[in-house]
Symmetry: C2
Subunit: 68 residues, 2 copies
Protein backbone atom coordinates (compact mmCIF):
# COMPACT_ATOMS: atom_id res chain seq x y z
CA UNK A 1 0.00 0.00 0.00
CA UNK A 2 1.32 3.42 -0.89
CA UNK A 3 0.70 6.31 1.44
CA UNK A 4 1.63 9.94 0.87
CA UNK A 5 2.80 11.79 3.96
CA UNK A 6 3.30 15.55 3.99
CA UNK A 7 5.28 17.27 6.73
CA UNK A 8 6.12 20.86 7.50
CA UNK A 9 9.78 20.88 8.52
CA UNK A 10 11.92 23.82 9.65
CA UNK A 11 15.04 23.78 7.48
CA UNK A 12 17.42 26.73 7.31
CA UNK A 13 19.92 25.78 4.62
CA UNK A 14 20.86 23.08 2.12
CA UNK A 15 22.81 21.34 4.89
CA UNK A 16 19.55 21.01 6.81
CA UNK A 17 17.55 19.71 3.86
CA UNK A 18 20.40 17.39 2.87
CA UNK A 19 20.34 15.85 6.35
CA UNK A 20 16.61 15.16 6.04
CA UNK A 21 17.19 13.60 2.61
CA UNK A 22 19.87 11.30 4.02
CA UNK A 23 17.62 9.88 6.73
CA UNK A 24 14.73 9.39 4.30
CA UNK A 25 17.01 7.52 1.89
CA UNK A 26 17.70 5.01 4.67
CA UNK A 27 14.10 4.70 5.90
CA UNK A 28 12.38 1.34 5.30
CA UNK A 29 9.31 1.42 3.06
CA UNK A 30 10.04 4.76 1.44
CA UNK A 31 9.61 4.74 -2.35
CA UNK A 32 10.04 8.39 -3.29
CA UNK A 33 10.38 11.67 -1.46
CA UNK A 34 10.73 15.37 -2.11
CA UNK A 35 12.41 17.73 0.33
CA UNK A 36 11.72 21.40 -0.39
CA UNK A 37 13.83 23.92 1.48
CA UNK A 38 11.91 26.75 -0.15
CA UNK A 39 8.50 25.45 0.91
CA UNK A 40 9.77 24.03 4.26
CA UNK A 41 7.96 20.89 3.24
CA UNK A 42 8.71 17.18 2.96
CA UNK A 43 6.59 14.75 0.92
CA UNK A 44 7.18 11.02 1.35
CA UNK A 45 5.48 8.24 -0.62
CA UNK A 46 5.71 4.56 0.20
CA UNK A 47 4.60 1.80 2.48
CA UNK A 48 4.92 3.99 5.55
CA UNK A 49 2.76 5.52 8.28
CA UNK A 50 2.58 9.25 8.99
CA UNK A 51 3.73 8.58 12.56
CA UNK A 52 6.83 6.65 11.45
CA UNK A 53 7.83 9.34 8.94
CA UNK A 54 7.34 12.06 11.55
CA UNK A 55 9.44 10.15 14.09
CA UNK A 56 12.25 9.57 11.58
CA UNK A 57 12.37 13.21 10.52
CA UNK A 58 12.27 14.41 14.15
CA UNK A 59 15.35 12.27 14.87
CA UNK A 60 17.26 14.71 12.69
CA UNK A 61 16.60 17.31 15.40
CA UNK A 62 14.48 19.42 13.05
CA UNK A 63 11.12 20.74 14.16
CA UNK A 64 8.52 18.85 12.14
CA UNK A 65 4.76 18.36 12.12
CA UNK A 66 2.22 16.62 9.91
CA UNK A 67 0.83 19.01 7.30
CA UNK A 68 -2.33 16.99 6.77
Amino acid sequence: MTTEVVLNVEMACSGCSGAVERVLKKMAGVQTFDVSLEKQRVVVRGDVTPEAVLETVRKTGKKAELAK
Copy 2:
Protein backbone atom coordinates in the same frame (compact mmCIF):
# COMPACT_ATOMS: atom_id res chain seq x y z
CA MET B 1 31.97 7.19 34.84
CA THR B 2 32.45 10.28 32.75
CA THR B 3 33.77 9.96 29.23
CA GLU B 4 34.62 12.79 26.84
CA VAL B 5 33.76 12.12 23.23
CA VAL B 6 34.92 14.42 20.42
CA LEU B 7 33.36 14.26 16.96
CA ASN B 8 34.01 16.08 13.73
CA VAL B 9 30.58 16.93 12.32
CA GLU B 10 29.73 18.67 9.04
CA MET B 11 27.37 21.52 9.92
CA ALA B 12 26.56 24.30 7.47
CA CYS B 13 24.47 26.75 9.48
CA SER B 14 22.98 27.42 12.90
CA GLY B 15 19.98 25.32 11.88
CA CYS B 16 22.35 22.38 11.45
CA SER B 17 24.13 22.90 14.77
CA GLY B 18 20.80 23.53 16.52
CA ALA B 19 19.54 20.16 15.29
CA VAL B 20 22.60 18.42 16.72
CA GLU B 21 22.08 20.23 20.03
CA ARG B 22 18.46 19.09 20.20
CA VAL B 23 19.31 15.40 19.81
CA LEU B 24 22.13 15.63 22.38
CA LYS B 25 19.77 17.27 24.88
CA LYS B 26 17.57 14.18 24.67
CA MET B 27 20.37 11.60 24.77
CA ALA B 28 20.59 9.43 27.88
CA GLY B 29 23.78 9.74 29.95
CA VAL B 30 24.87 13.09 28.52
CA GLN B 31 25.98 15.56 31.17
CA THR B 32 27.33 18.45 29.12
CA PHE B 33 28.05 19.15 25.47
CA ASP B 34 29.46 21.82 23.22
CA VAL B 35 28.51 22.11 19.56
CA SER B 36 30.83 24.39 17.58
CA LEU B 37 29.66 25.34 14.11
CA GLU B 38 32.88 27.27 13.58
CA LYS B 39 35.14 24.33 14.44
CA GLN B 40 32.77 21.71 12.93
CA ARG B 41 33.21 19.92 16.21
CA VAL B 42 31.02 18.37 18.91
CA VAL B 43 32.26 17.56 22.41
CA VAL B 44 30.07 15.42 24.68
CA ARG B 45 30.76 14.55 28.32
CA GLY B 46 28.85 12.01 30.34
CA ASP B 47 28.20 8.36 30.99
CA VAL B 48 28.26 7.54 27.28
CA THR B 49 30.29 5.54 24.78
CA PRO B 50 31.90 7.04 21.67
CA GLU B 51 29.90 4.61 19.51
CA ALA B 52 26.55 5.65 21.04
CA VAL B 53 27.31 9.35 20.62
CA LEU B 54 28.39 8.80 17.02
CA GLU B 55 25.24 6.83 16.24
CA THR B 56 22.99 9.47 17.81
CA VAL B 57 24.63 12.32 15.92
CA ARG B 58 24.52 10.36 12.64
CA LYS B 59 20.75 9.97 13.06
CA THR B 60 20.53 13.69 12.42
CA GLY B 61 21.68 12.95 8.87
CA LYS B 62 24.92 14.88 9.38
CA LYS B 63 28.23 13.40 8.36
CA ALA B 64 30.12 12.66 11.57
CA GLU B 65 33.23 10.80 12.66
CA LEU B 66 35.18 10.34 15.88
CA ALA B 67 37.93 12.92 16.21
CA LYS B 68 39.98 10.84 18.63
